[in-house]
Amino acid sequence: MAVKTQDSTQKDFYNPNVLINLGPSHPAMHGTLRVMCRVNGETIEDANCEIGYLHRAIEKLGEDKTYHQWMVYTDRLNYCSALNNNIAYAMAVENIMSISVTERCMYIRVMCMELSRIIDHIICVAINALDLGAMTVFWLLYQWREEAYTMIESMCGMRLTTTYARIGGMSYDLPDTLNERLWKFCEEFPRALDEVEGLLTSNRIWIDRTRGVGIISKEDALKFSITGPCLRASGVDHDLRRDRPYYIYPDLDFDVVVGSNGDVYDRYLVRLEEMRQSVRILKQVNQKMPSGPLWTTDKRVLIPEKLEVYSKMEVLIHHFKIFMEGIDVPKGEAFTCVEGPNGELGFYVVSRGGPKAWRMRVKSPSFMLFQAFEASVKGGKIPDAVAHLGSVNIIAGELDR
């Protein structure tokens, strides 16, 4: 039978220009990411990332919803560490209103942020190992992720999309059982990390698959504005918790973990050590946790007690005004950044007065990471691209907003 082709490059087996489309729905793609590449043999020669498949107009909604209502949307940014987003957003609004939260609230927030950092790093390391075939690590670590989620559930009643923070405080105080539970977690979780380290760190297969793969050099990392563990793995000593400290971080004792090569292996090591440092912070916070009020006394944001709402007219009106009209944020702007699990998570809020923001910009770390991924994946092999993508931990919700 005569072969009829219109384009000879399409069917030639030894074609140096084969086009491969990964995603947007693919088991090795973390979320709805799409990478289109031109491969020569197994080497990716050209790649292009198409993003926006999870775009939900969160920034536009930030201008349409009141400050209070928008809190739930922050959960859906980086859904692996929702607590971190909640708190960073509450912090941004409080900064514009010049409110400082109580000491107990600061401790709870730091605790939550570190807990969610552990969860996020667990997901990254476990899924990265799973992508490369090491399933045991996944089972070992996910048990602890479950435990962390159960602790979060006991704090606010939700597991994944927490909406725990409120502007001026937290929605609930800590449960009585948490202290003990957290101690147990801090004692036993590092043992699981030791086990994982025993399985991976000196494992020949793991080293062969990860060392020298997906290298982002120090210069490139800075040019691509990468932040967080990936920047530190490239050898830049930068951590907002230490360099631009917020809340009680100056009182806490922790080390900033810095790598040197900027490859997948270094990013894995940095994340593993950061989990240990987070456990260290959790221990200190748990020990020092002060008693006292949870909520600020500022009347503009203070959500009244439910019992009083039902029994006092003035309090009912106050409650109604906060939830139906929203809080009145004065004119002004601020760019508030926290060290999120993936890097610098910033909320740039421009207020022109009133209950809604004029501009709600989310500066997400994943955006920069994926841009660097697009550039550094060229020249590597397809399996290396999967390893690289797993190690930078791109969360589509945060990438596309």
Partner: protein, 195 residues
């Protein structure tokens, strides 16, 4: 002032010094403001001036602003910040002194801004996002296309006049392409060509 910043943070001294330096050295002819976190905001006169300021701050001896944190914009439809339609915002950061500076620039609807892609590779996607959301164009950008919205999308969603409920569904994906280096792809393969 009460904020989330720890009172003993060591960068606060540098931030104050930076504010003073900006007012003295770059202030004449430009408006310098301080935001709620006491971080300096400097208004560039033109887009060219914004890029010049960006470069100058990178090379400033006292504060090497060697890191691009963010590029974004916001709609100035109510005219509160000036006559022109949009405000372009550069967030610059110093990895040595840990201070931030924000460069702002007013832009008309059809007025192009200058690209920063020749200085920072990260500016590429950030500028594409600003173009996508506001329709601000950047002269010199290598690949100015929509990034979050579909290529077939019309309008710029973050402009204030864009209705929040307006949707434009597409029932298929964007075809395969290689970004800045588009490639002719023939998808019309004749059946039976496998033999």
């Amino acid at each position: 002032m009460t904020t989330s910043i720890a009172p003993k943070a060591s960068y606060l001294k540098d931030q104050e010094a930076l504010g003073k330096r900006l007012v003295e050295k770059y202030g004449p002819g430009r408006k310098v403001e301080f935001d709620k976190l006491n971080e300096p905001v400097i208004w560039a006169k033109t887009p060219e001036d914004a890029k010049l300021l960006f470069r100058t701050f990178m090379l400033d001896d006292a504060f090497k602003m060697d890191f691009l944190s963010d590029i974004t914009a916001y709609d100035n439809k109510d005219g509160e910040d000036g006559e022109k339609r949009f405000v372009l915002v550069y967030q610059q950061y110093s990895t040595t002194k840990h201070v931030r500076v924000r460069i702002k620039c007013l832009l008309d609807e059809s007025e192009p801004a200058l690209t920063l892609t020749d200085i920072f590779l990260a500016a590429n996607w950030l500028e594409r996002e600003v173009f996508d959301m506001y329709g601000v164009t950047f002269t010199g950008h290598p690949n100015l296309r929509r990034i979050l919205m579909d290529e077939r999308f019309t309008g710029h969603p973050l402009r204030k006049e864009y209705p929040i409920k307006q949707r434009e569904p597409f029932n298929d994906n964007i075809g395969f392409h290689l970004g800045a280096n588009p490639m002719e792809i023939n998808t019309n393969i004749t059946e039976g060509s496998e033999n």
